[in-house]
Every structure is written in structure tokens, then in C-alpha cells.
Amino acid sequence: MRIAISGGHVIDPANNIDAVVDVFVDGGRIAALGRAPKGYKAERTINARGLHVIPGLVELSARLGEPGYTHKGTIASETRAAAAGGVTTLCCPPDTLPVIDTPAVVELIHQRATASGRTRVVCLGALTRELKGELLAGMGGLRQVGCVGVSNARVPIPNTEVMRRAMEYAATIGMTVFLHAEDPWLAAQGHVHEGATSTRMGLPGIPETAETISVARDLLLIEQTGVRAHFCRLSTSRSVAMVAEARRRGLPVTADVSVQHLHLIDEDVVGYNSLCHVRPPLRGRRDRDGLRKALRKGVVTAMCCDHQPQDRDAKKLPFDATEPGVSALETWLPLALRLVSEGVLDMPAAIASMTTAPAEILGLEAGTLSEHAPADVCVFDANVQWVLTEDGLLSHGKNSPFLGQTMRGRVCYTLLGGVIVYEAA
């Protein structure tokens, strides 16, 4: 189908475009920007005057509920939420049930995603079998069926020897290792940042060192093994400084932060607000500001939303008994725009952190409006205001700490491979 998106303000960071231009889609791909190709006749024209046109967003971590946790979400429900959030590529971490440590699980997820047809879904394979941190998972086989990287998800690998060998093996087959830095002993019983707030609330805390010690260890092993590595969801200023230093020395390391960690801090947990229970925990104001600065300076290139839908029961318990995570796909773009309005990032940098940067980390041909690229496009209105309600969320998970808040910016159209998969009512 030939779709022309006319009169919109196009931001395509990969090509340094930040201007009002027309976008012409043909055969599932971007046919041209600016002037229509010879003989192009649009079958449908989207009037994007006053709207922004950007590449479809690329999410580094979305838990979809399937397989194993369909009471929290399904591939159908969560990809619908993704499309409504302008997200066209999702990366699914391996902590499903069963774990993504065999090709069969990957194929199952791919099949259901294709059936849903609303977003592309790629998988991270397990780094160790069943994520137990003992035996290597069959990474080669996982790669063959399309896994874009390997990870032990949020399950720590305390055995340094296993971590070293896992990195060496991943390096051998050229896969990026996605790391969640958390020392299992220091994090132990904790669910919140260790500091004055956790002390006051009487909640066991997770100290900053639970993350920094693990980052330090992993950086040394990355250096030794030469593996390409990505640190997921860094939460402290100290750890981004360590990653910055490693990048300066030329180590093949990238990092992301979640949009929640760029807005919220440990004090938001006061009142035992389980919707603010996330992992790694929300840190103090200085850490939040440090993460913002790291993103602005390009030390951290990607901002993700770390989507994790939860069933109601999982959040309706005393704080320490609740499960972590935020249903985040549908608030990602407005919260990114909030960073723009707060002066943390300019608009092109914010869009880059959600498109080109994560696509590059995942090694995908996505996140751009280059000619011939797949026509994954998000068209949004940056000015429309709306209030976030449970009913308004398409995700099965209603667990958002931003419920009741006014959001600014809303997706109008999402195109996946040249097909309109979401159109605002």
C-alpha cells in the first residue's frame, strides 16, 4: 500500500532530519522523503500537519506475558499496547516460562507475534540454561533462530567463572551480552534503594554498591573476554561513570536507562506505593540527575521503558511482597516528551534514544526513516493532553505509577512495514 504522510514535522535522527517534509511509503518500505518518487500515487494520505513523524520506537525490554504468565499479559494484548504507544519493535527478555533457552520458545514467540501483526518482536536468548547461572545455554542455536543477543535477565550469575566463560562463548559466536548488574548478596532481601527513605519506611534496602560492584566485575570480564556487552537499566550515577570510563578506553560497551528512573526517585515509594516498586530500585535525586546527565552527554545512548505488565494481585500486597515492574509502553513517548519540556534533552536526542540507539544496540535495521528502510513510523501530536487512567491502557497490566497524571503527547498513527496498525480514535 502506498501511504503518503504529508506536512508533518519529521525527526529522523539517523539522517539528521528535523524539518517539515513529506514521507512516502511504498511496498512496506520508505520510498522517499521530501519529493514523491516518479509516478507515485498515494492510495492513502495521512494529513500530518501540526504532527510529528518519527521512526517507530524500538523497545529494549518488554515482557509480554507469554509464554508462562498469561495472567499478566499476552503477546496479543501487549503488542496492541505497543502499537498504541508508537512502538514498532519489542525485545523480549529471556525470563519467560519456560525460559528462552531453546529455539522452540523463540519460534513460539515469533509465531504469536506474527499472528498479532502489530509489532516486530525479537528475543534475547538465555545466557545460561534455565537462567540458573551454572551451564551455558545453547547460544548458537538461539542465534540461528533469530535471537538478537543473550542475557541472564535479572537473575544474577554469582559464579565469576561461569560469567567469564559465558562471555567468552558469546564473543565466539558474535552475540552481544545484555547484563543486569546486581550483586545477589548485597541486594539480598531488598526491594528499594538503601537510604534515608528505606530507613524511615523500615524496608530492607539495596545499596548502590549492589550495582556498582557488579558493573565493575563485569567490565573487567568484558575487557578480558572482548565480548560486546550492554548494561541494562543502570540506576546509579556511579555505574554510568564507570561505563563512561570504559567507553573512553574503547571497550565495546553500551548502556540504557529506563524512562521511569529518569522521572521517579526513592521518595516516590513513600506511602508504600507498590506501583513504584521497580528493579533496579528507584534511587535518590542525585542518581536520577546523574542518569539524566549521562543520557544527555551520550554516555548512556538508549532510553527504554522496561515494560512489565503485572496482574492486579501482584501489586495488591504489602510492599515487599509485591512484584516489580511498570506497564510502560503507552506512557513511554509522553514521558520522553516530558523530559524534553523539562529541558533534559532536545527533541531529536530524545527520539534518537528511543529509535536509532536501541536499534543499533540490537543490531536491527530499524529506528530510521532512511530510504528503503522498513516503513515503521510513528505519527504523534506533541501537544494534546490526556489523563492516564486504567481504562485507557490497552496493556493487560494497569500497573503505572503515573495513573491520574496528565500526559502531554499522544500517538495518532503507527505504521508497521507500511501498514497502519494503530490509528487513534
Binding site: 528505606s198 524511615r200 523500615g202 506511602g271 504489602p318 515487599d320
Partner: protein, 321 residues
């Protein structure tokens, strides 16, 4: 919802009693004054009942074992003429996998008016208060490491019996501050009541991060911490603290932090010694001190009834208006 919004209703009255933190000074004074009235009732002999909670049902919901707290709550409710039911949830539905909210809904259906809750998780009482039907009051009988507000009030009551002006006092809280809900509630209560010098004393492993922000001074050395204080509150040292590498042994703990007559010499001559119980003789406190003339430990227990009556009466009062 913040604790203050949860606890104080739209008329400015106490709806739930979850934590002392953030409560106005006058409210604490009201509780103490009210308790004083109740303390005089029995005259130490006959149990006199007042009809303030007649026709009301109080349920003690204990998800964690307790003798002292549960019994004094029962007695307090009895003396207010309420019907009391004590449930040890640990042994019943919690083990059958019934969720906390389901348990609550069931109890609500039995038309009760007040829950006294003890739970091993911090924030449990807050959670319950946020989810109960609006006519029910929740009183926190201790939640995790977070709060034990009635203990703090009975400690304040005991202090007021012996010392007249909170605003001239030095109080040392000694021991396992990290795991102690009593310590946290005491700190809030004493600071709100105007005590200018609240100290916490213990080894680094048992002092939680950032405790200074609650308005206390931290001492690692017991003698320095006890110097010139008017009140010493000793905390119970759980035997399981040896695990997790927090302490080497109880004997070493006693050597460094155990309260003895000799150690007490640096305190003010009229110092009083308190302990929320149950005490570990020879671990955190020497028998000579626990049973000595400066100990007010048993008075704390009997004040517990009057103070809990006062809290229950205030909460019930907010319901009838």
C-alpha cells in the same frame, strides 16, 4: 497515600493509628492525657470497665507471634467493653494461600469495627488501612521494621511519669536499630514531643543508613552514647542476628553494648532504664540493671494497657462522629 492523609480523617481526628511519623504534637499529648485518665481507673487493683467501645468488635490480627502486645490489646479492648477476637493468621489462612485482601474481606463481612494488626512486613498496616471499609479503624501493633506506634506512646507515657519536661531530655536508644520498629517509632514520638537530644547507639552493622535524617545523633561507643542521658531505652537483640554476619557473638555484644550498673554511671544520676521486652538477660542488659531501682520495664507493660485504651478510644471516637 501518605501516612498522615491516611491516619487523620477530614475532621482532623485519628482514623487509623499506623505510625507516629507526621502526627501533630497535640495529638500525641491527647493520647498521653487520655491514657492518664485510664491509668487511674483501676487504681492498680480492681479492673474497672468503661463503656466507650460497648457493642463494638475488635479483631486482633496477628500475622506474627506476640504475647505482650496482643494481651495488652485484648485487656485494653475488654476494659473499653468491646468484644474481642484474637486471630493468629500465621497458623490459618496465610498458610492456605488466602491473600491478605481476601482475609480482610472475610473479616469485614463479620461486621467488626477495629483491626489491631501485627505483621512481619513493613507497610502491612498501612496497606490494610488503605484497603479496609471506611467504617473500620486499623491500629498498628507492629509492622516489620517500620513502626510500633503504641509501644512508642507507652514509652513516652512512662517517660512523662518520671520526667516532667520532654524539652529538656536526653534519650539514648541502644542496640539493634536496623531491625527495630520500636526504635523508629520512639524516635518520631520523642522528636515530635520536643526531646532535643535523641541518640542511637550500636555497632555500625545495626545502625541503618541515613538514620540521622530522622533527627538523631549516632554513637558507636556505648559510654559516649550514655553520657549525661536521662533515659535509656534498650532494644532486644534477636539471636538470629548472629547470622548474616551482623555480630560475632552475644557475649561480645554484651561486652561492648550490654547495659551494666557500671556503664550506667556516666548517665544522669536519676536516669531511668526502659526495654520493650522481652529482655535477654546477659545479652543486652544485665539482670542487676533490669531488676534494679532505675528500671521501669514492668511499668511500661502496665502502661501499655492504658495507652492502648486511649488509642482505641480515640480511633473509635473518630468513627462515631
Amino acid at each position: 497515600m501518605t501516612a498522615r492523609d491516611l491516619q487523620i480523617n477530614e475532621h482532623g481526628r485519628l482514623q487509623h493509628f499506623i505510625t507516629v511519623e507526621g502526627l501533630p504534637r497535640q495529638l500525641l499529648i491527647d493520647i498521653l492525657d487520655r491514657a492518664e485518665g485510664f491509668a487511674g481507673l483501676g487504681g492498680g487493683r480492681a479492673v474497672k470497665k468503661v463503656p466507650l467501645l460497648r457493642g463494638k468488635t475488635v479483631i486482633n490480627l496477628f500475622f506474627e507471634p506476640s504475647t505482650r502486645t496482643r494481651t495488652t490489646f485484648e485487656l485494653a479492648a475488654n476494659r473499653l467493653s468491646a468484644d474481642v477476637l484474637s486471630l493468629n493468621i500465621d497458623a490459618s489462612s496465610a498458610k492456605k494461600g488466602e491473600s491478605l485482601l481476601d482475609t480482610l474481606r472475610n473479616l469485614e463481612a463479620m461486621h467488626c469495627d477495629m483491626f489491631v494488626v501485627r505483621h512481619n512486613l513493613s507497610g502491612a498496616a498501612h496497606f490494610i488501612a488503605s484497603h479496609v471499609a471506611p467504617h473500620i479503624s486499623v491500629i498498628n501493633g507492629g509492622d516489620g521494621r517500620h513502626a510500633h506506634p503504641t509501644q512508642a506512646m507507652l514509652d513516652a507515657f512512662t517517660i512523662r511519669q518520671h520526667k516532667h519536661d520532654f524539652r529538656r531530655l536526653s534519650v539514648a536508644i541502644v542496640g539493634d536499630i536496623l531491625h527495630s520498629r520500636v526504635a523508629r517509632s520512639n524516635i518520631h514520638a520523642l522528636r515530635i514531643l520536643g526531646v532535643p537530644d535523641v541518640r542511637v547507639v550500636g555497632p555500625h552493622t545495626l545502625i541503618p543508613t541515613g538514620i540521622e535524617t530522622m533527627g538523631v545523633r549516632v554513637f558507636q561507643d556505648l559510654e559516649a552514647g550514655l553520657r549525661d542521658v536521662d533515659v535509656v531505652i534498650m532494644l532486644r537483640l534477636q539471636q538470629e542476628r548472629m547470622r548474616g554476619a551482623l555480630l560475632p557473638s552475644t557475649s561480645e555484644y554484651f561486652r561492648l553494648y550490654g547495659l551494666t550498673e557500671q556503664r550506667l554511671r556516666v548517665a544522669n544520676p536519676d536516669v531511668i532504664v526502659m526495654h520493650p521486652g522481652p529482655i535477654n538477660r546477659g545479652v543486652e542488659i544485665d539482670s542487676a540493671v533490669a531488676d534494679g531501682s532505675r528500671s521501669v520495664i514492668l511499668q511500661q507493660v502496665s502502661h501499655g494497657i492504658a495507652v492502648r485504651m486511649a488509642v482505641m478510644a480515640l480511633c473509635a471516637g473518630s468513627q462515631t462522629e
